[in-house]
């Protein structure tokens, strides 16, 4: 995968523009609006599923751009990247191509919470994504601005009050029609930019603001509830102006671990990797923030910002008198810019300069681009189905920041899943969903559609109840096979590789399981290991591998004939051995949740007058959110356990009534037939 050469970018652009001229006369299955992390994954996934897909972006050059930090993955986020890759998405392979500093976070805290992460070369990342899109069959890219959504009469066979049939492009050209439209407009929905006391419309510096028509259609025509969130980005600093002697070097891992299950190595050679640097804020920073508060209108606004990625202003205001970390991250192999992670700020430009100069390593730093804040509308995601489709509008899907999330990985995961479902919808296939018991993507989507957001949503490992089963190492076993067999978004090549891995792992585990010796014999084989069993019990290889300091390599050297051929998977086998007993314990709980998730609540249930004992408050919550399953209902805030019991009883007895009615009908029909038969007798 990494040996291929990227085609030059200008050929991509010429191809796109050539297609653009006749695009508008075409009928598409899926149109994706926006070319960020959500949009590119959505377009590629829809095309992989088999839909004729159009990607519309304001600016071709910014497709696949990293608008904020030059990094991918991390704790929780790395799991999402692995899962997107397991479903044949782009970002994992793009990360391997563009990474210039790889490290696994949480290395000492257990493989379930390892966080694969990489610093990226912005240019390489963009180039990889654009080249991938170019070589994706059934996918067309168009530069243009979307003026309006086309809304028409509904298909009466499906739920919903509206139906989206396509888009209207700006500058008066013809409408482009499609069965499904995916909006991934990021921060551009009624976005405004803030620096100091000045504000201007827009979603990102350097790009035109998006049309107000789109936002109007969503709010007024489709009646979607929206909320307002804020985020920000730090100033970019000239590398030459930084005094690195005053910062702590943070080296990358000696052996970079690729994100993608298809890659065994990264594009960047281990020795070519660049370091990061760590420095700290000083009391001077706090003083500058406090002195300039009156000049900082972003920070005074009441739109909700994230608690975990706050601006430097909110950090020093909420936790005064502390030293805060600032990471200096490279923007690329050849870039002369640095990204100061932790210094997102919105004060006037001159104050920004005096603030960063309060930091030791930045005492004579120069700013290339100033930091700024963005406020934008998001659509309350409880109005979406688990397929990320707007519940009241047929054919309309939303993914990324428009749903109130933050982060590239969260956007990519939603984009992929919206793309899959938009394509399946357009091709008249049933939509698919992922359970929170099988993936972080499932956790992400379930949290969004059943709980909604109050601040920009970011993935943490603590959000996943079954974290010990949802590990970065086994994302392929959890998703690739399903992705090919049930979803249709995985290529045959990747599927075959996953099958090979599955068979080898099963084979190796069976061999380990069959390798059963008395604990005394194990002690002889592995003299350095404290086998704790006092009695002379029989232990299998799998059980011995659970021991803290037993590695698969040790077992393989003790039993070379049977085990050495499985060395390729030594790490995965070790992890599997340690976690399997715990995962087995959770199985019951997982099955229970899946059962609840399978208990569908009718879409048109009239909660307000349901003849069960339930408080008005609970009724209103259920009526507003309309959870699609009983499982989702249990996770709603404000829903009492008693209400769930009553709801369950009601749904069960409704099913029963339905079945009885059905049986009665059948009986009546049979009787009628019998009567008719009798009557026809001579």
């Amino acid at each position: 995968m990494l040996t291929k050469k990227l085609p030059p970018l200008n050929s991509f652009l010429s191809l796109v523009s050539r297609r653009a001229s006749h695009v508008t006369r075409q009928q598409y299955d899926v149109i994706v609006v926006g070319g960020g992390h959500a949009g590119t994954e959505a377009a590629a996934a829809a095309a992989r599923v088999g839909a004729k897909t159009l990607l519309v972006s304001q600016k071709i050059q910014t497709i696949g751009a990293l608008s904020c930090n030059p990094s991918l993955g991390g704790v929780g986020k790395g799991q999402l990247v692995r899962e997107v890759d397991a479903l044949d998405g782009l970002c994992g392979r793009a990360g391997d191509w563009a990474g210039i500093h790889f490290s696994i976070l949480n290395r000492s805290k257990g493989p379930a919470v390892w966080g694969p992460r990489a610093q990226l070369d912005r240019q390489r990342y963009r180039e990889f994504i654009q080249s991938e899109l170019l070589s994706t069959p059934r996918l067309t890219v168009l530069e243009g601005s979307v003026e309006e959504l086309l809304v028409s009469e509904t298909n009466p066979e499906q739920p919903g009050h509206h139906r989206v049939t396509g888009i209207l492009l700006a500058n008066g050209s013809h409408p482009v029609s499609a069965s499904s439209v995916i909006l991934t407009t990021g921060t551009f929905l009624s976005g405004s930019l803030f620096i100091g006391q000045s504000t201007s419309p827009g979603g990102r510096i350097g790009d035109a603001p998006s049309s107000s028509g789109l936002s109007h259609t969503l709010k007024e025509r489709l009646g979607l509830r929206v909320g307002r969130l804020r985020t920000g980005t730090p100033p970019r600093i000239l590398r030459d102006s930084v005094d690195f002697s005053l910062a702590v070097v943070q080296p990358p891992d000696g052996h970079p671990t690729p994100f993608s299950f298809l890659n065994t190595r990264t594009h960047c050679k281990p020795e070519e990797q660049l370091p990061c640097h760590l420095t700290y804020t000083t009391p001077g920073v706090e003083r500058v923030v406090k002195d300039s508060l009156h000049l900082n209108c972003h920070i005074q606004e009441d739109a909700k910002g994230p608690r975990y990625c706050p601006s430097i202003e909110s950090r020093v205001l909420r936790f005064p008198g502390r030293r805060h970390q600032v990471w200096l991250e490279p923007e690329g192999l050849t870039s002369d810019l640095l990204y100061p992670q932790g210094l997102s700020m919105t004060m006037p430009p001159d104050v920004q300069l005096s603030l960063i100069r309060q930091i030791p390593a930045l005492h004579r730093a120069k700013i290339h681009t100033h930091g700024y804040g963005v406020q934008y509308d998001f659509v309350c995601p409880t109005q979406l189905s688990p397929a990320l489709q707007v519940k009241n509008t047929q054919g309309l899907f939303l993914a990324g920041q428009i749903n109130g999330t933050t982060g590239y990985e969260e956007a990519a995961a939603q984009g992929l899943w919206a793309g899959v479902n938009a394509a399946r919808c357009a091709l008249s296939m049933p939509t698919v969903s992922l359970s929170r018991t099988e993936s972080y993507i499932g956790v992400l989507i379930d949290d969004l559609v059943s709980r909604g957001v109050t601040e920009p949503y970011r993935m943490f490992t603590s959000r996943a109840e079954f974290r010990t089963a949802l590990r970065p190492d086994n994302a392929d076993m959890r998703l690739t096979l399903k992705g090919f067999e049930e979803v249709g978004c995985v290529s045959t090549l990747r599927y075959q590789e996953a099958v090979r891995v599955r068979d080898s792992l099963q084979d190796a585990q069976a061999t380990l399981q069959a390798l059963s010796l008395s604990s005394n014999s194990w002690k002889k084989q592995l003299p350095d290991i404290q086998i704790s069993e006092v009695k002379n019990t029989v232990m299998t290889g799998m059980e011995v591998l659970q021991y803290n300091n037993v590695s698969f390599e040790m077992l393989a050297s003790a039993f070379p004939e049977s085990l050495s051929r499985h060395m390729e998977f030594s790490q995965r086998l070790k992890i599997e051995a340690v976690y399997r007993p715990h995962c087995n314990l959770q199985k019951k709980e997982i099955e229970r949740i899946q059962k609840e998730e399978n208990l569908l609540l009718p879409h048109d249930m009239d909660y307000l007058s349901l003849p069960v004992s339930m408080s008005q408050e609970v009724r209103e919550i259920l009526d507003r959110v309309r959870p699609s399953t009983l499982g989702a209902a249990t996770r709603l805030q404000g829903i009492t356990p008693a209400a769930i019991v009553h709801l369950l009883n009601y749904v069960r007895s409704a099913e029963l009534r339905e079945r009885r009615k059905h049986r009665k009908q059948q009986k009546e029909e049979r009787e009628e037939e019998l009567c008719a038969a009798k009557a026809s007798l001579p």
């Binding site: 257990g110 493989p111 990625c309 974290r467 069960v612 008005q616 805030q637 769930i644």
Partner: protein
């Protein structure tokens, strides 16, 4: 996270079975299964809330949206409702016939400040059956009113979040408390004391989990020091110690709730059944001079100084060829093994006349009554036996005093009482000894930490305790698995009182740490 409906279904069912099985039987949640269908919220329920039968004052309660209407038309308050929660003396009339039914106090409890969280009214009327019936009938004729199902007021209160599960259980116990000590314990539980203890632990565990999770999710890039985990270690240790203490209550609370099991055992014809009859002051068991009269277990419930006691009389222990008697003896031995307290009854007349020999004889005898696998020393030490020397009226005074002295001198004996069921001699002393034993077994419901009252709580607490051990086992090896332990502990505790979600954990993380990168 992680509290889910089937858990509640489980609890619900558990509460049920406990209630159905336990003494005293409880009706009050017994209609929950499958009932809610067809029961609309808009309905207003009413019921006689005080006891049935003739009494000075009876209380009739109504809850639901039509309560105010009912109050208006029955208390003649056409204009305005009375001030909330204030007694008002009114004539109570039938709204249709306009006939005055009674004169009594009315109370108005507007939502949400009422027991059920809904609009409620109370009528305190005279307790004659005719008055009650008339008022109930009048209420039933108000549109939108219907009689309440058993336990429906409480269920509405639980639903409105007015009571947590331990409080509901406590309330059930309070209504059904038969002895003074039971009442005190139930009142304590209902007022939420047990719930508060568990909630306090839940809160501590949440904090532990939040700190471990913060360390997992944020420590690499943020300023979260390793010291965080040491703090968690200390909290976990403290919690374990507290829980251990709580679990080591010798089932006192449960015993008080369901009654102390006291078993009378001994050889045939020692006077066991006579003792039972004397204690319950009625001929509950057949008494005859024929050895082996009692074959099966005879049970009776007693109130010993405010504590509930379940007294069982058993077949006399002897080898027998009779099949029925052998089964009776087997049952007797089984009872002794399960008993909280065993009264070993010995016929004085069978004792050797020499006091020292008598002591040796008794020791031997006790051993034969004891559960086979237990060592006598441990059993006597645990205050689980009382030795009763019956038929003292048949013993010469001098010999009796000698025996008494000798038995007090010899160590390793359970408390001894000399009694005569025939003359009631020594019975008062015996009752005093019995009372103090029972009191020790139940604990004082008013002092010290609240005690466990239900087997359901104990099971969840034990799971919780075990899960904390998992944290310690994996603390240095695999933090994900260590966190899993705390999470499991939290789930187990949550099953007793309420739910815990991932969002709550994140809230604590963001409150305690400056997360920012």
């Amino acid at each position: 996270m992680i509290m889910l409906p089937s858990i509640y279904r489980g609890i619900w069912r558990a509460v049920h079975t406990l209630r159905k099985r336990g003494t005293p039987p409880c009706r009050f949640l017994s209609t929950c299964d499958g009932l809610p269908v067809g029961l609309a919220d808009a309905e207003t329920i009413f019921a006689l809330s005080s006891g049935h039968g003739r009494c000075g004052v009876a209380v009739v309660r109504a809850s639901g949206p039509a309560s105010a209407t009912a109050l208006r038309c029955m208390a003649g308050l056409s204009r305005s409702l009375p001030p909330p929660r204030t007694a008002l003396l009114r004539s109570i009339t039938d709204s249709q016939s306009k006939e005055v039914l009674d004169r009594g106090l009315v109370f108005w409890f507007p939502a949400p400040h009422s027991f059920t969280g809904e609009d409620s009214v109370e009528f305190h009327i005279h307790g004659g059956p005719a008055v009650i019936t008339a008022v109930l009938q009048a209420l039933g004729s108000v549109p939108g009113m219907r009689p309440a199902e058993a336990g429906e007021f409480t269920r509405r209160a639980f639903q409105a979040g007015k009571l947590d599960l331990t409080e509901v259980e406590g309330l059930g116990d309070l209504i059904h408390a038969e002895t003074e000590a039971q009442r005190r314990q139930a009142l304590r539980q209902m007022s939420g004391e047990l719930g508060h203890l568990y909630q306090d632990w839940t809160h501590k565990l949440k904090r532990c989990l939040a700190h471990v999770e913060a360390f997992i999710d944020f420590s690499e890039d943020e300023l979260i020091e390793d010291g965080v985990l040491n703090q968690v270690d200390r909290w976990v240790c403290d919690l374990q110690a507290e829980m251990e203490q709580h679990l080591k209550d010798e089932r006192r609370g449960e015993r008080l709730r369901s009654g102390v099991q006291v078993v009378i055992a001994g050889a045939t014809n020692a006077g066991k059944s006579s003792l039972l009859n004397t204690l319950c002051q009625r001929p509950a068991a057949i008494v005859s001079p024929i050895a082996g009269t009692t074959r099966d277990i005879v049970e009776t419930a007693l109130d010993i100084g405010g504590f509930p006691v379940l007294l069982s009389d058993t077949a006399g222990l002897r080898e027998s060829q009779d099949l029925v008697e052998r089964e009776g003896v087997r049952r007797a031995r089984e009872r002794v093994e399960q008993a909280d307290l065993t009264l070993v009854v010995v016929d004085c007349a069978h004792l050797p006349s020499d006091a020292q020999q008598a002591a040796a004889f008794l020791q031997e005898h006790l051993r034969s009554v004891l559960p086979t696998q237990e060592q006598p020393e441990t059993v006597f030490a645990a205050d689980r036996f009382l030795l009763l020397l019956n038929k003292t009226d048949l013993l010469p005074e001098e010999q009796r005093q000698k025996l008494d002295r000798e038995l007090r001198r010899v160590s390793g004996f359970p408390p001894v009482c000399l009694i005569s069921c025939h003359t009631n001699e020594g019975l008062q002393d015996f009752l005093t000894v019995l009372h103090s034993s029972v009191k020790t077994l139940c604990g004082d419901p008013l002092s010290g930490a609240p005690t466990l009252t239900q087997a359901r709580h104990r099971a969840h607490l034990q799971q919780c305790f075990a899960a904390l051990a998992q944290y310690q086992r994996y603390r240095d090896i695999d933090l994900a698995l260590a966190a899993e332990g705390v999470r499991l502990a939290l789930t187990s505790l949550g099953r007793i009182t309420g739910r815990v979600g991932a969002e709550e954990i994140l809230d604590i993380i963001f409150k305690d740490f400056c997360i920012g990168k």
